[in-house]
């Protein structure tokens, strides 16, 4: 029995099993000091959670948020990695700077974003009103649905949700950037040189030579980012508190736990969240295997 295995058992497997147990028991926050693992079992928590519309809407929000964030972070990470691929003066500095959003404390960066996007004295709204002709400040983090007037077309946009996705793009593109850059550096330049001789355009060279070689890293990246974004709590909680159409599943669990003080229901919902995630990942892996990729 290795010590590591023991630690994992104690801090991961054991809490997980206990969490499953709690989800089948009636447990309120106030009774927590006397929580009894052998309390009678009940399906009430699941009944409560599954029947409430809030569960499904929060899972849907999580799914949209995850999809948007993963696409944005991966695309920006890819563009950034390709842009700094060839040497130029200041490259070391630029590469290090690109990693800043990822290493800085989440509380500090969400705070700055909140201040910058503030409708009263935020610099973004000041700038927009002064230079971009916005007629009124945009409440980026508190408006669930705005109307975007594009050449007379009234397009409804989920303002706050888009803003948090944009924030995710800012904060997590460095992760994709780091992995793609490492992979790009490890690639042999011969296939690209051969393609150049054969008259491939830069786009063709990227599409048919580079992209297939990056596919395995991209697969892992998308997998990891999906798991982490789907479970993400900090970013949304700190930016919007889950208001304005951004209540993702993990924020709802937190509210069940601390506002409604229902530990059992919070456990039940967190298990549903984990199951949905496992299901999504199962589909993802199956699709990739069908297409002949090694996962």
């Amino acid at each position: 029995m290795s010590p590591t295995l023991l630690i994992i058992l104690v801090v991961v497997v054991f809490p997980l099993l206990w969490s499953i147990l709690i989800s089948f028991q009636e447990l309120k926050l106030i009774q927590i000091g006397r929580a009894n693992p052998f309390a009678p079992l009940t399906l009430d928590n699941f009944r409560l959670v599954l029947r409430s519309g809030a569960l499904w809407s929060s899972l849907w929000t999580s799914a949209v948020y995850t999809f948007g964030s993963v696409v944005v972070t991966t695309v920006i990470g890819m563009v950034a990695a390709l842009a700094v691929r060839k040497p130029f003066p200041g490259r070391t500095f630029v590469r290090a700077a690109f990693l800043l959003p990822y290493v800085a404390p989440v509380v500090a960066v969400t705070f700055v974003w909140k201040i910058m996007l503030n409708p009263e004295f935020g610099i973004v709204n000041e700038f927009g009103q002064r230079w971009l002709g916005w007629s009124e400040p945009i409440p980026f983090l508190t408006q669930s649905r705005g109307i975007w007037d594009l050449f007379g077309l009234q397009i409804p946009v989920p303002t706050a949700l888009l803003t948090v996705i944009l924030f995710e793009g800012w904060r997590y593109f460095p992760f994709a950037f780091l992995f793609l850059m490492a992979r790009l550096e490890g690639l042999s330049s011969e296939p690209e040189e051969a393609a150049l001789v054969d008259g491939a355009t830069p786009w063709q060279s990227f599409r048919y030579i580079l992209l297939p070689q990056l596919a395995p890293v991209l697969t892992v990246l998308v997998l990891l980012r999906t798991i982490w974004t789907f479970n993400d709590f900090d970013d949304i909680f700190l930016l919007t508190g889950g208001a304005a159409g951004t209540q993702v599943a993990s924020v709802r669990i937190y509210e069940l736990l601390t506002v409604q003080r229902n530990v059992g229901a919070a456990s039940a919902q967190s298990l549903v969240l984990a199951l949905v995630l496992i299901l999504l990942l199962g589909i993802y892996v199956t699709v990739l295997r069908r297409r002949g990729e090694r996962v």
Partner: protein, 297 residues
Amino acid sequence: MSRSYSYDTWNRDRVQRMLFGIARPVVIGVLLLWVILPFYYMVLLSFMPIESLLRDPGRLWITPDEFTLSTYEKVLRSVQDGGQGFGSFLANSGVVSISSVLLALAIAIPGAYAVARLEFFGRRKVNALFVATYLFPAIVLAIPLFVLFTRLGLRGSLVGLVLVYIAQTVPVAVYMLRNYFETVPVSIEESARLDGLGTFGTLWRITLPLSLPSIMATGLFVFMIAWNEFLFALLFLVDRRESWTVSLGLAQLSGSIEVPTTILMAGSVVITLPVIILFFATERLLTGGLTAGAEKG
């Protein structure tokens, strides 16, 4: 026909090359601006009195006569002295992060070594368990730990928080270290054995010194997680201001309207600086350690 075709691709090739040639510096410039701007704004506001911000919010510079350091003084001073107590938040976070690093390494090093070197039952299963750690949201594990720590009286103590951070970081630490241990040639260790060192002697005298860069990278990774972590600090410590970590402190104070924004910006700078300094000092080590698996493709 074939001539016009080749002319066409040649032309397209040239257009694309020109486009990409222009796009590259533009992309780098725009991304750099986008990444740096929030940090620049954070530092800018931290040196400004709140009145200046409210009077003219659209500025990206500061005049010498409004430059002030009083924001830093106010944010760091203890509550009794009329400050915000970030000094004690820094101390709490320092204690929590450093203990997490030392303990996580003490557990992960032998663990990673065992996974890398010794054949034992269920090695693949251990890998699967590591992955499983990340499948479940932190909040799933948070609930039973919350119950358990309440019963043990560990909630509200920094000890409980350290335990959670160890749990969260040990799996990745084992993964990072294992990748490195596997690159240390077995033949070196075998010659050490022949010279009479035992398993632990070999690990201590031979493998560890060789793996020092990787161990430092792993330690820094744990430090950054522990320093930046928010959810568990919020769940366990929210009622006890004297135990708040930097992240929790900033989040709680920014939720109230009483503390001026510029003072909290000074707080943000103060809690961001240690991580960024550590990161730049060791950037090469850290990025290499994290992506060691990716390079193999």
